[in-house]
Structures are given as C-alpha cells and as structure tokens.
Symmetry: C2
Subunit: 346 residues, 2 copies
C-alpha cells in the first residue's frame, strides 16, 4: 500500500501517527487545531516538508467553518490560526512557509466572497501537497546523479516518505538511485532521543527493499574510519542565506566527521526549506525539548536540543528540487531562488 | 555508603550488578566461574580495571578448592580457568593482565605446597584490588593538575567508581579536581546502546554531588560548537604501543570532534591497560555485540561494535598512575613502562 504521510480525508487531516511506528501503522484523523498543534508538538507528524503541508491544511481547517462576513474578519481568524499553528514548533522553515503561503493566497483574493476564499485556500493547501510530491521526485532525480553504483550512504533521522508527503528528500535520492539499479547500501543513524532513524528510516527503507543497516549515533565515526561510508545525505529543517543548515541534532556531528574522513556531505531539501531572511545559522531558532525524551530518571539535568546547525563550510552541496547548489553558497543560493521566482512569475 | 565494585566476601566474588543501576543498587555474590563468565559477558561487571580485578579473583575462585596434588596438575587447572575467563570478552587489556599476573605468580611459586600456592594466589588477587585503588587515586591526583577551576568536562561511558574498584580513572580526575574545590561541570554522553553514561556515570557523579548534565551522544558536537566543553576525558580498554586507544564506542567520535573544536582530548588509564605487545590500534581485537542491544525490531541489520579505536594523533595526553604521557607516544610510553618495571624490580 502506498503511504501518504498527510492527506485530506472527510473534512479532516489524516496523518500517520509516527510515534506508533514501527510497531503499528496507525492513521489519525485530525479535526481541530488543538489536536493538530498537539500532533505536531508530540511529533506524531514531523519532518519539515510534511509540517509545511500539515500547517497549510491546518490553516484551512481553522477557517473552513468560520462565519465571517467580511474579509478583515476572515483574515483575522486566519491569522489567529496561523499564529497558533506556528507556535507548535519553531525550527522547520517549511511550517512557516506553508502558513505564509495561505496568508498570501488569502490577501491575493481578498475581493472574493468568503465561500470562494475558503475554496481557494483549500486548493492552495492541496497544491502545497502536490508540489511537495513533485519537488521530492525532482530532488531524487537530481540527487541520484551524485550516487554511484554500490555506494554506501549514511543518513540521520528520517528525511523520507514520512518526512514529506510520499517520497522523501535524502531518502528520495536513495529511492531514485535504487530504481536506477545502483544497489546502494544505507547506514541509518538511530537518532536519539526519539529514534526516528531506527523507527522510521529503517522501517520505510526495508519496506521498499533497500539494504539498510542500523547503527547507534556514536558508531558513525567508526563506520567512516573503516571506509564503510561513501557519502552522507541528510535532510534539512531550515537553510539560511549562507547555506548554514539546521537539521536534526547529530547532523552537525556527522558533517564534522565526514570532513575528517574526506567523505562528501550532502543536504537534500526543497526550496521551501530555505530562509534567506536569515543570514547565517546563528539566526535559526533551535527548539529545546523536554528532558523526559532523554531519561526517565528524575532530577537529572539534561541537554536536549532537537536540532543543530551545520555551517555551510562543511556541506559539499545542497540538493534541491531546482538543482544542486555548490559553494559559494550565498551567491548560488540567491541565484537559484531568484531564477525560481522569475520562472514562477512568468 | 562507600561503594566497592568488586570485593571478596564469604568465599565469593561480590559485585555490584551494574545492569540494575540506576534503579537499584544490587549486589551479587558469584561462587562459580560459569556465573562469573556470564556476569562479565552481560556486563553486570564492566570497565577495564574492574575486569582485571574480577578476572584475578575468578582465577583464584577456580582453583581454591581444586584437589591437585602436584604443581603441573594445579597449573593445568589454573590455565583452564584463565582461558575460560579470558573468553568472556576480548577487548579490555586489564582482564588478560589480571589473569596473566595470577599465572606468573603461580609459576614464581611452583615449589610451594598447593595450600600455600592457593594462599599466595588469593593474596595476589587482593593485591590487584588494592593496587587499583591506589592507581586510580594517583590518576586522579596527576590528572587533576590539568583541570582548571570551573572547567566543563565531557566524558563518555563510565570510567568511574563502577569501572574500577572504588574511585575511577577519568572520573577519578574529576573527583580529585572537585575535592580541590575546582567546581567542575560534567557533560555525560549517554553512551548507546547500553547507556552506561546515562545509567552509571550520571548516577555516581550525582551521588558524589558533582554537577552533571546528561546529553545524547549525537549532541556532543553541538555542545562543543557552543563553547560548552573545555576538555574531554575518557577511559581506556586497551592502549597499544603507539598510543592508539580502544575505548567504548563513540570515544573516537568525540576525539575527532574535540580536534575540530580545538578542545584537549585526554585518556585516563592505569599502566595495566597498556598492551605494548600490540604495535597499533589495528591489532586490538574489537568485540561485536548482539543486535538486540540496539533494537528489538526483528530482521533489522545492526552494526554494534562495543569499542572503537582512537588514533594517538587525536589524543592530547594519556593520564596514567605513573605520570602524564604526551607525544611522541611510542617513545614516551616505552620509557614510562620501562621505568616502572625498573622500580618494581628494585
């Protein structure tokens, strides 16, 4: 059965509850914003591109039954929903990008009737979903050019089907390479504390018949020293204008280790993950999560950031849906994004 | 109450069952070699120096009731016990060092009566215990010179009370610095898969009132990048003639990360951990452990080595009970060990 991480079903947002995997593939239908906020916070739905889609659908969910008579009234409600959804988790750019698209679409159509506006916003959310499906396949196609037959690829967290709508970014590259008969081997870092690598990445790779081996995060360096890793590919939660990339905690560690072992380190992400309003990684807000994720022992002090920032100097290239970006990043990111805007406006 | 990781009580080896910590401080009395072998393999008792003592006591346990009439008969039984205990885990040098000491002591006294020989071996095992207590305190004293007031020190696995008889190597340095009023702050890497950092190091540091914060292994790099780590100190399971050091998996990762962030990286270990019969880290046998330690999910391929090797180039200095060894390691290790032998023979 084809997996859909997020879909609109019977006037609700249907998500896969990722906290139940791999033991159980359970779907959950979300009918109100409080439930969506909790689902995002608890990481039942996670992964930057998936959050963009969930947030956009959430914005629609929040306004679809609103009894507003005027645009300002309607827009006020939309903005409240956007602010509320945006308060769930701070780091993933796509979440805010999805919400902003909904706001822009509303503004663009402020002269329409409220019922028409609701239809337009619904269409916009669905468009975000279908665009993600296309973007991931493009990332897969473009990124797969970097993969050689028999490559051994290390990845972290989950940047696959479950982090997007149905294909993946970093894992999209792997799926495409596999389809091309390149028979890659994947090392999945388990990704403490919530084990998205062990629970989600291993599950979906095995489901698709990809050769995957699970390792604890602290074993990555030993694998590299033994020559068992040809490339590292990670996803991204937010990419600054200079290429500095926030991604799941441990990504930065892998980037340093990859550089030490002269292994290429790639980031794979759609353009919606870029935030060129932020100059460098220093400006990216990093979510701190509860100590209970790390230990159940009481009174123990815990350091538990959900993300870290990999400086652009450690990134060999960024694989996007619009092409591969290489250093110098400031110039090349700007160029790709301007070109994309130009094309969109044509 | 003062902890003793290993002691001789009522004709049995009393260990702390470390698999039960931190939930429960449980002692276990071991009366036969099969039980000792299992306790070592299951890591109820672990830590290189502790294994040296446990193995030596085990060798005595194995011969104390033997009905041999001649030395060759007695020695044959001893060698069998040594081989059996030595087959429990391959990496820690101290385990074999402890066993070899017992064999040498037997050979040195081969003209003695069997009852006398048994007493001599018992005394030798107790001597190994008391020597470890002294060695750890020396390591603490010598290593604490490297620690500045307010230093923030990262460590991995457990190289403390529970890895030795009652004080620790890497943590011995911290205990001594703390006693000197240096008020250090410790970051304990949790150390997957068996979480010795989270379960043992945090527990014993908190017990002694040391300021400790727990982090997942993949968070070490982020802590370093934030300037929160002044020094890294790890223990050792076996140190080759050139200074290459096998220690708990993840140690190598920390060494690479420390170098990248220009943070001193220290190994703390007694001379009994050195194996100058092995030229470099390549010769150190690395134990592979069961997949079930990493995941309960079936059919998942797992990479699970218990140790990795840190090349000497990444080690700032090795803190021993006989002094601090700095590069060039081949020469300086040889010198320290020769001096020690000379002193011992005087």
């Amino acid at each position: 059965m084809k997996l859909m991480t997020i879909a609109w079903r019977r006037n609700k947002i249907r998500i896969i509850d990722q906290t139940k995997l791999p033991a159980k593939l359970a779907y959950r239908d979300i009918g109100d914003l409080g439930a969506l906020w909790q689902a995002i916070r608890k990481m039942q739905v996670r992964g930057a591109p998936a959050l963009g889609a969930a947030a956009a659908l959430g914005a629609y969910l929040g306004v679809k039954d609103v009894k507003a008579k005027t645009f300002p009234e309607f827009k006020k409600r939309l903005d409240e929903c956007v602010a509320f959804i945006g308060s769930s988790r701070p780091t993933a750019r796509n979440l805010f990008w999805g919400l902003e698209r909904m706001q822009k679409e509303a503004l663009k159509n402020k002269d329409k009737s409220i019922p028409a506006l609701k239809k337009i916003l619904f269409a916009e959310a669905l468009k975000i979903i279908s665009e993600d499906q296309i973007a991931c396949r493009r990332i897969g196609k473009i990124g797969s050019r970097l993969i050689k037959k028999g490559d051994s690829i290390m990845t972290v967290c989950n940047a696959g089907v479950l982090a997007t709508i149905d294909y993946g970014t970093a894992l999209g590259v792997i799926y495409r390479a596999e389809k091309q008969g390149k028979r890659v081997k994947v090392y999945a870092c388990e990704t403490r504390p919530l084990l998205q690598g062990a629970r989600l990445t291993v599950w979906e790779l095995m489901r698709k018949g990809v050769d995957v081996t699970l390792n604890c995060d602290n074993m990555a360096a030993a694998l590299m020293a033994q020559g068992k890793v040809d490339k590292v590919i990670a996803g991204a939660d937010r990419i600054a204008a200079n290429g500095d990339t926030a991604n799941k905690i441990g990504t930065y560690s892998l980037a340093v280790l990859a550089q030490h072992h002269k292994i290429p380190f790639y980031i794979a992400a759609p353009l919606s993950t870029f935030d060129i309003s932020i100059k460098s990684g220093k400006g990216i807000p990093i979510e701190q999560r509860a100590r209970e994720e790390v230990t159940s022992a009481r009174r123990v002090k815990v350091f538990n950031p959900a993300f870290d920032v990999t400086p652009h100097q450690l990134i060999t290239a960024i694989i996007t849906d619009k092409g591969i970006i290489r250093p110098p990043y400031i110039r090349n990111i700007k160029k790709l994004i301007s070109n994309d805007k130009l094309k969109m406006s044509k």
